[in-house]
């Protein structure tokens, strides 16, 4: 019941938000020089007057902007995301084709960053102001300062070019024609560097948050009580402090869901991955309004779902918080 209330509340907040986003993006992209048919012709190499007109009317780009927008909203209600001009196929199919790569990439990198951030953050807090803490802090700072695409490129130079351990890009080795488990393993191999690259930015953030949270929690009364009760240091750390310190971590993870998709644009470009991020970039370049809006709807849904999950985790971690209120 509580969860249901939570879901409903989230949705009631999210729908107006989604409306704002769609309207802003729709009218913004109208300001861009050239439209989807220009981009299409750019790729075709040439065109003439009649052909351009034909294409514009075919893709519904000859009506007024307002009519186009209301038409779009009308179709959206029936979950129809429309046709992509660049691909000539339904947007939904294109997105669903690309979604898995991005979701796997995001989940893997987030999991990696979260776990590593927790562990290293705890260690830093445990040895606060001593040399392991210093080293970790410096490392975290360095990682945070690194442009992700640069890290990706350097990883390619090292692991793919020099050492030859990992593939430089793509999602699988098509020629090998792997199936089943072998295909999964092959894809996993292709995802190691991208996930690492994307995760790195967030690792630095988690690390800092975790360290601070741990430090704050460790000074709290109940910790002192726990210690006074003669509980083992490690037990205190894990059972009490960690649990409480996880709360801000989870909050941050929710906030970062959307910036991760932005990060995916660059990472997918570096590693030639066929994901949503690159599709979004293409949509902008191609002025493919339906595709851009479709991706936005999808990513908003993704962000909303992630935040919902986080609310639920929150509720589990700290029963005192009434998230439904």
């Amino acid at each position: 019941m509580r969860i249901l209330r939570l879901v409903l509340r989230r949705l009631s907040l999210s729908i107006p938000c989604l409306g704002i986003i769609l309207a802003v993006l729709f009218f913004l992209l109208q300001l861009a020089p050239g439209d989807a048919v220009d981009a299409l012709i750019g790729q075709m190499g040439t065109s003439d007057d009649t052909l351009s007109k034909l294409l514009r009317s075919y893709y519904g780009l000859d009506g007024s902007v307002v009519a186009q927008f209301t038409g779009y909203l009308g179709r959206l209600v029936t979950l129809d995301l429309g046709l992509s001009v660049a691909y000539g196929t339904p947007v939904l199919a294109l997105i669903l084709e690309r979604l898995p790569v991005t979701v796997v990439l995001m989940v893997t990198s987030m999991a990696m960053a979260f776990t590593a951030g927790c562990v290293v953050g705890v260690i830093a807090a445990r040895y606060v102001h001593r040399w392991p803490d210093t080293i970790i802090s410096v490392l975290g700072m360095l990682v945070y300062s690194m442009p992700s695409f640069w890290f990706g490129l350097m990883a390619i130079v090292l692991f793919a070019v020099t050492l030859g351990w990992l593939p430089a890009g793509g999602i699988s080795d098509l020629r090998a024609g792997h199936t089943g488990l072998a295909l999964m393993l092959d894809m996993a191999k292709h995802l190691v560097m991208p996930a690492l690259t994307l995760g790195l930015i967030f690792f630095a953030v988690y690390l800092r948050v975790m360290r601070t949270a741990m430090l704050e929690v460790m000074t709290l009364d109940f910790m002192r009580t726990a210690r006074a009760k003669g509980l083992q240091e490690r037990a205190v750390l894990f059972r009490h402090a960690l649990r409480n310190a996880l709360l801000p971590m989870v909050t941050i993870a929710g906030l970062q869901a959307s910036s991760m998709l932005g990060g995916a644009v660059v990472v997918e470009s570096v590693f030639s991955l066929p994901g949503l991020g690159r599709l979004a970039q293409e949509a902008v370049v191609q002025r493919d309004l339906n595709m851009l809006l479709g991706i936005t709807v999808m990513s908003s849904v993704l962000v909303i779902v992630v935040n919902l999950v986080i609310d639920i985790i929150y509720a589990k971690l700290d029963p005192r918080i009434d998230v439904g209120a």
């Binding site: 050239g34 012709i41 750019g42 065109s47 351009s52 000539g88 196929t89 030639s272 370049v285």
Partner: protein, 530 residues
């Protein structure tokens, strides 16, 4: 003729000091059947039906599945694919194609003249880009029997133009799958059904296209390969990694960084060559907005040409993979004419011409400030930067504005919002297909890659029109020579550089790059040596 050009190219390559591994091997031993070839290209054309859209990046993929009436043979001359022979009436108003017998579509239906008629009348003439220009005067296609198609024109159509345009534009689509449908929404566009040596298997947007052997191909015994996988890898460094690691067997259309092309050319595992791409070359041009008073003076345009050291650019920026341009067509073309007026690099002469035109160096040594508009592609920006640097030395300040392709088209072609642009022209075997449209006046505003420069010359228009309808090959050639000279005199635009695409091929492949537009050809004779 081909030999002559090969020699010239060899000299060019040798002169640039690149260790190219020479021409592909055409092994004498018997072809081996089987195997998969993986090819890398940079762009996903997002469309796979060349009958509806004329584009290199589409034919590179789809010409294995869908076939044209004619292609180019090893000698660079037209060679029948779906057509077996052709001839033209002396007045050039009718061109007859005899079609190949016993050809079947991949779905089992027979191929007939009705397919050709439908493709020509409904697709090429009406909605195929380039086709709408070349087949503008096509009034009917008669089909007296299932294996004959007679193309009737309202104005004379030179046979050469028809055949050479045909290699890029005469792809035949299955009438029974398109008739009565909405062409742009037809699923066959993305899953083509043709008559070619390979059948379409799968297209995954942004990733790959897979085609497999057509066992019922009309050329019995071919193709040799089982499968062709074409992967889209846009990042040049990523593509280089794929080639080097052996993940792909071939990279076409200059998709690797030039430094990598040069480096790989020294490795025994690869052949790095421009052979097989000659008919698909491109040119970097400097186009002027003739509405701009400063640029109306021909001395200014000539000064710009003198100020830019093209040979240096080719050597240092293109690493020798290119050549100084002249006239309107690349040196491979039979419409290339050596000895036209030219403007060799001479900065002092450029300054003198600018002085003479009344643009003296003013404050800060600057004569004038112009805006150069460019697409944001690597090559275009590099060329724009070089123009900027070169003109700065003679006192002309250039600011570069870049747009993506939609923004470029809107700004340059529709809004005429530019002073200079570095336009890339793709050559398509005949000046009438995509070149003269850059110079002919009277183009409607907004038509991309046409004369949006504000250039108007009745004398030039007359030459262009005469050549377009000149049925006699010699006369046609003479007219294009005159046009080339007039262009070099007046410089409405300047073809600074010609570039032929470069392919990297694993040495185990045989029969690759054996015609001048091989990448966009059928590949039915390609095989892998053990």
């Amino acid at each position: 003729m081909t030999d002559l050009h090969v020699t010239r190219r060899a000299a060019l390559v040798a002169g640039a000091g690149l260790a190219f591994n020479g021409a592909p091997l055409h092994a004498q031993d018997a072809p081996r059947r089987g195997g998969t070839v993986t090819v890398q290209v940079a762009t996903d054309p997002r469309f796979l039906m060349p009958a509806l859209r004329g584009n290199f990046s589409i034919t590179n993929l789809a010409a294995k599945v869908v076939e044209p009436l004619v292609d180019l043979g090893e000698d660079g001359q037209p060679q029948g694919r779906l057509a077996t022979s052709w001839d033209s009436t002396p007045d050039g108003l009718a061109i007859t194609f005899r079609l190949r017998d016993g050809v079947k579509w991949h779905d089992g239906k027979p191929f007939t003249a009705a397919d050709v008629q439908f493709s020509a009348m409904e697709m090429w003439r009406r909605v195929q880009n380039y086709g709408t220009i070349v087949f503008r005067n096509l009034v009917a296609v008669d089909t007296p029997d299932p294996l004959t198609a007679i193309f009737r024109f309202s104005k004379p159509m030179p046979l050469r133009l028809m055949l050479h345009a045909g290699t890029e534009l005469s792809y035949v689509a299955p009438r029974h799958l398109y008739e009565g449908t909405d062409f742009f929404a037809n699923p066959v566009n993305m899953a083509p059904i043709g008559t070619g040596p390979f059948r379409f298997v799968n297209y995954t947007a942004g990733q790959h296209v897979i085609v497999e052997r057509n066992p019922d191909y009309w050329d019995a015994g071919k193709p040799y390969l089982d499968r062709i996988i074409t992967r889209f890898i846009a990042d040049p460094a990523g593509a280089a990694a794929a080639v080097e690691s052996g993940a792909v067997d071939m990279s076409i259309f200059s998709s690797l960084p030039r430094t990598d092309l040069v480096r790989l050319s020294r490795e025994a595992r690869f052949r790095v060559s421009q052979k097989g791409n000659e008919a698909n070359s491109i040119g970097n041009t400097l186009c002027f907005n003739h509405r701009k008073p400063e640029l109306q003076d021909v001395r200014v345009r000539r000064a710009f040409a003198h100020a830019i050291d093209v040979n240096f650019y080719v050597r240092s920026f293109l690493l020798g993979l290119g050549k100084r341009g002249l006239g309107l067509q690349p040196s491979f073309s039979e419409f290339f004419f050596p000895g036209l007026t030219d403007y060799p690099f001479d900065a002092r002469k450029a300054e003198a011409l600018l002085d003479e035109a009344g643009f003296r160096r003013g404050q800060g040594g600057i004569r004038m400030t112009l805006r150069m508009t460019s697409t944001n592609g690597d090559d275009a920006v590099r060329f724009a930067t070089f123009v900027q640097q070169s003109l700065a030395r003679v006192g002309v300040r250039i600011t570069i504005t870049t747009y993506d392709s939609a923004g470029y088209l809107a700004n340059v072609m529709r809004d005429w919002n530019f002073d200079l642009t570095g336009e890339t022209i793709g050559f398509r075997n005949d000046p009438q297909i995509s070149t003269t449209v850059f110079l002919r006046s009277g183009q409607p505003r907004g038509v991309p890659w046409s004369n949006q420069w504000g250039w108007e010359s009745p004398a030039m228009d007359a030459l262009i029109d005469a050549a377009a309808e000149a049925v006699d090959p010699d006369r046609r050639r003479a007219l294009y020579r005159d046009l080339g000279e007039m262009v070099m005199q007046e410089l409405p635009m300047w073809l600074a550089i010609e570039q032929v695409y470069t392919s990297v091929t694993a040495v185990k492949l045989r029969n690759d790059h054996n015609n001048p537009r091989w990448t966009g050809s059928h590949w039915s004779d390609l095989w892998i040596a053990a």
